[in-house]
C-alpha cells in the first residue's frame, strides 16, 4: 500500500510530538537532572522544525510504502499485544500455545488453505517447540515465567 505523505514533515511532526510528550507534563525536577534532557529537547525541536521547513521547501520523499498487506500487518501487531496482555491472565505457557497456533494458522492462510487436518499435523511441532523453550527457560535458565489460571 502506498500512502502519499511528505516524510520530512511527518518526521518533523513526530519529533515535535515526542518533545511535547516529555516537555509538557514536566514534574519539578532539579537543575542537575533536567539540564541535559532540556538541552536535547531544544535540539530535537530545532531539528524537527528544520525538517518541517525542508519538507515544505524541498521534500525528500512524498510517499511511504507498506509492503505486503496492511491488514495482516495490523492484525499481527494486535496479535503481539494481545499475546503480551494475556500472559498475565493465562500464564506464559497457555497464552504462547494459543498465540503460536493462531499466528501460524493466520500466516499460513496467505499461501494455502489451512484445513483442520493440516493444523493437527502441525500440533506436535508447535507443542514441541513451545514446551522445549518453556522448559529451557524455566528449568535450565531458572526464569520465573508468569503463571496464570493453569500453569
Amino acid at each position: 500500500m502506498i500512502l502519499r505523505l511528505n516524510t520530512d514533515i511527518a518526521a518533523g511532526t513526530v519529533g515535535l510530538v515526542f518533545a511535547a510528550v516529555l516537555w509538557l507534563p514536566r514534574e519539578e525536577i532539579g537543575r542537575l537532572s533536567i539540564i541535559f534532557p532540556r538541552a536535547i529537547l531544544v535540539l530535537l525541536c530545532l531539528i524537527a522544525v528544520a525538517l518541517i521547513v525542508k519538507g515544505v521547501i524541498r521534500p525528500g520523499g512524498r510517499q511511504v510504502e507498506i509492503t505486503g498487506s496492511p491488514r495482516r500487518l495490523f492484525t499481527v501487531i494486535a496479535g503481539f499485544f494481545l499475546w503480551w496482555g494475556l500472559v498475565q491472565v493465562l500464564g506464559f505457557l497457555v497464552t504462547t500455545l494459543i498465540a503460536f497456533f493462531a499466528l501460524t494458522w493466520y500466516l499460513a492462510r496467505v499461501e494455502t488453505r489451512v484445513t483442520w487436518q493440516r493444523l493437527l499435523r502441525w500440533m506436535p511441532v508447535i507443542l514441541g517447540l513451545v514446551i522445549v523453550f518453556y522448559l529451557t527457560f524455566k528449568e535450565v535458565l531458572n526464569v520465573r515465567l508468569p503463571t496464570g489460571l493453569l500453569f
Partner: protein, 512 residues
C-alpha cells in the same frame, strides 16, 4: 602478554570450543535466513547466555556474530538474496557463479575469505584496542561528551538517507535514555507518575524491539513464503586446495579488502554493507579484468566476504575502548558487557584483561571454526533454511524475543516496552528514521549526559558556561570531527555515483 596467554589457556578447553562451535552454527543458521540480520541473531540468542559466565556468554555471542555474518553469504550465492545486509556485494558474483554450476566454489571461496577476514580482524583488534584504550584515559568529561556526539553524528549520517532524520532519531534515543533515575542528580525523570519506569529503558529491551519486531512485522505483512530451492549446493570439479591457491597465491585482493574492512569498521555506523560494497568496488577497480566482475568472478566474492568478516572484530575497536559500537550488532555485545558490570575503557584491558582477551581470541577461534562448520554443515543448514516456512518462523522468533525480554529483569513491562518500541520502529522506518541512531542515542545518552553536566558544573563561574565544552585542543579537535562526521553523508552520494547503490536497490527489490 601474560593476560593473553592466560586468556588463550582459558579458551583451549572442551567447554569453550563447544560454546564457540554452537554459537557459530546458530549464527550461521540465522544469518542464512534472508531478512534475519546479525543483530537479530544476537538479540534472539542472547537470552541463552544469561546463565553463563561472562566469558562464556561473550564467546558464544562472538561465535554467533561471526557465524551470522558469514551465513549471509549462503543465500546471497545460492538464491541471490543476501542473508544479511553485509552480503549484498556477495550476490554480485556469487549468484552468477551458482548459475554457472560453481556454487560450491563460491561457497568455499566465501568460507576461506571469511576465515581469513575474521582472523585479520582479531589481529587488528588485539593490536589497536589496548593503545587506544590507554589514550582514552586522557579524555575528560568534555571530551567524552564530544566522543558521544561524534559517534551519534557518524551513525546518524551513515545509517539514514537524511542527516536531519538521523539526528532526530539520535535525539529520540538520547531522550529515551533519560527516562528513569538521573545519573547525576539522582531524581526520577519522565516517569509520568508510574514508578516501575524508574528503572529506565533497558538497552537490550530497546535493541530487541527496534531490530527484531520491525523485521517480524515486515515478514508477516509481506507473507514471505519458503524460499525457492532452485540452486543446489553441488560439489563440482574444484578442490578446496585450488581455491586456497587462488586466494593466497595472489593475496593482494585479500589484503586490500581486509584493510578496507578494518578502516571502515572503526567508523561507527558504517556497518558491513558499506564495508563489503567499498571492498568489492576496489577489487573491481584494481582488477586486470574488471569486466568479468558481476559475471561470476571469484575475486568479487573474496573481496566482499573477507571485508565484512574483518568488520566483526574490527568494529569492536571503538566499542571496547570508548563504548561506541562500530556496528549495530556491537550494541548487543555492549549490553552484555554492561550486564556483567564491565565498562569499556582501559579497565577492560587491565583489570578484566583475561576476560577481554579471551573474548577477542574466541572470535579468532570462531573464524577458524567457520571452515568446518561452513564446508561440512553448510549443505544441511541450507536445506533447513530453504524448507522452514515463514509461518513457523514468525511465531517462533516472536516467542523467543518475548521470552528473552522477560528473562532480562523478570518484567512484563519490559515486554510491553519492547513491543511498543518495535511497532514504533516499524513506522518510523517508513518515514526514514532508522533504528540505528535511536539505539546509539540510547547507548551514548548516559555518556553524553555525564560529560555535559560535569563540564557545566565545573564552569559554573564562567560567564558562558557551555564554552567550557571547547576549553582544550582535544575537545576542539573532537568538535571539529563531529562537523566532519556530518559531512560523511556524502559517502552514499559517492557510492551512488559509482553505480553501486543502484545495484543494492535492485537486489533489495528482488528479495522475496
Amino acid at each position: 602478554m601474560d593476560m593473553l596467554l592466560e586468556a588463550l589457556a582459558s579458551l583451549l578447553t572442551f567447554e569453550s570450543v563447544i560454546t564457540v562451535l554452537v554459537g557459530v552454527s546458530a549464527g550461521l543458521f540465522i544469518g542464512a535466513m534472508p531478512g534475519l540480520t546479525a543483530t537479530m541473531a544476537l538479540a534472539v540468542l542472547l537470552p541463552f547466555t544469561f546463565s553463563m559466565e561472562a566469558l562464556q556468554g561473550l564467546m558464544a555471542l562472538g561465535g554467533v556474530y561471526m557465524g551470522s555474518i558469514y551465513g549471509g553469504a549462503f543465500t546471497a550465492i545460492l538464491i541471490n538474496t543476501p542473508g544479511t545486509p553485509s552480503s549484498i556485494a556477495t550476490t554480485f558474483d556469487g549468484y552468477p557463479m551458482a548459475r554457472q554450476g560453481r556454487a560450491y566454489e563460491a561457497i568455499a571461496a566465501a568460507t576461506i575469505a571469511s576465515v581469513a577476514g575474521g582472523i585479520v580482524g582479531v589481529i587488528f583488534l588485539l593490536v589497536l584496542a589496548p593503545p587506544l584504550a590507554r589514550w582514552a584515559v586522557a579524555f575528560g568529561p568534555s571530551e567524552m561528551f564530544w566522543v558521544a556526539m561524534l559517534g551519534l553524528t557518524l551513525v546518524a549520517s551513515l545509517s539514514s538517507d537524511s542527516l536531519l532524520k538521523g539526528l532526530l532519531g539520535g535525539c529520540i534515543g538520547i531522550l529515551l535514555s533519560t527516562i528513569g533515575v538521573s545519573p547525576v542528580g539522582g531524581e526520577s525523570r519522565f516517569i509520568f507518575g508510574y514508578p516501575p519506569l524508574q528503572g529506565g529503558i533497558e538497552l537490550i529491551v530497546a535493541l530487541i524491539g527496534l531490530f527484531v519486531i520491525p523485521e517480524l512485522l515486515t515478514m508477516a505483512a509481506e507473507g514471505r513464503g519458503a524460499l525457492p530451492g532452485q540452486t543446489e549446493l553441488r560439489k563440482k570439479e574444484v578442490s578446496i586446495l585450488s581455491i586456497v591457491r587462488h586466494i593466497f597465491g595472489k593475496p593482494i585482493n585479500l589484503i586490500r579488502s581486509c584493510l578496507i574492512g578494518q578502516i571502515i569498521a572503526i567508523i561507527p555506523g558504517a556497518g558491513g554493507n558499506v564495508t563489503s560494497l567499498v571492498a568489492y568496488n576496489e577489487a573491481r577497480r584494481f582488477s586486470r579484468d574488471p569486466r568479468s566482475f558481476g559475471k561470476g568472478n571469484v575475486d568479487g566474492v573474496v573481496a566482499s566476504e573477507s571485508s565484512n568478516n574483518v568488520m566483526v572484530a574490527g568494529s569492536m575497536v571503538p566499542l571496547l575502548t570508548l563504548g561506541i559500537p562500530g556496528a549495530p550488532p556491537d550494541a548487543i555485545i555492549l549490553g552484555v558487557l554492561l550486564m556483567h558490570g564491565l565498562r569499556p575503557g582501559l579497565d577492560l584491558f587491565t583489570e578484566s584483561g583475561v576476560l577481554t582477551n579471551g573474548f577477542i581470541l574466541s572470535m579468532g577461534m570462531a573464524a577458524l571454526l567457520l571452515l568446518p562448520v561452513g564446508l561440512l554443515g553448510g549443505r544441511l543448514i541450507h536445506r533447513v533454511v530453504i524448507r522452514t516456512p515463514y509461518y513457523f518462523l514468525v511465531p517462533s522468533i516472536a516467542m523467543v524475543t518475548i521470552l528473552g525480554t522477560f528473562a532480562l529483569r523478570n518484567s512484563l513491562l519490559d515486554v510491553g516496552i519492547m513491543l511498543i518500541l518495535g511497532t514504533a520502529g516499524y513506522f518510523l522506518r517508513l518515514i526514514g528514521i532508522q533504528p540505528a541512531p535511536i539505539v546509539l542515542g540510547l547507548i551514548l545518552g548516559g555518556i553524553a549526559e555525564e560529560g555535559y553536566v560535569q563540564t557545566l558544573m565545573a564552569a559554573v563561574v564562567d560567564p558562558i558556561p557551555w564554552l567550557r565544552l571547547l576549553h582544550n585542543p582535544l575537545s576542539m579537535v573532537l568538535a571539529g570531527m563531529v562537523v566532519l562526521g556530518a559531512a560523511t553523508t556524502l559517502v552514499p552520494l559517492w557510492l551512488a555515483r559509482k553505480g553501486l547503490l543502484d545495484r543494492v536497490e535492485e537486489d533489495d527489490g528482488r528479495s522475496p
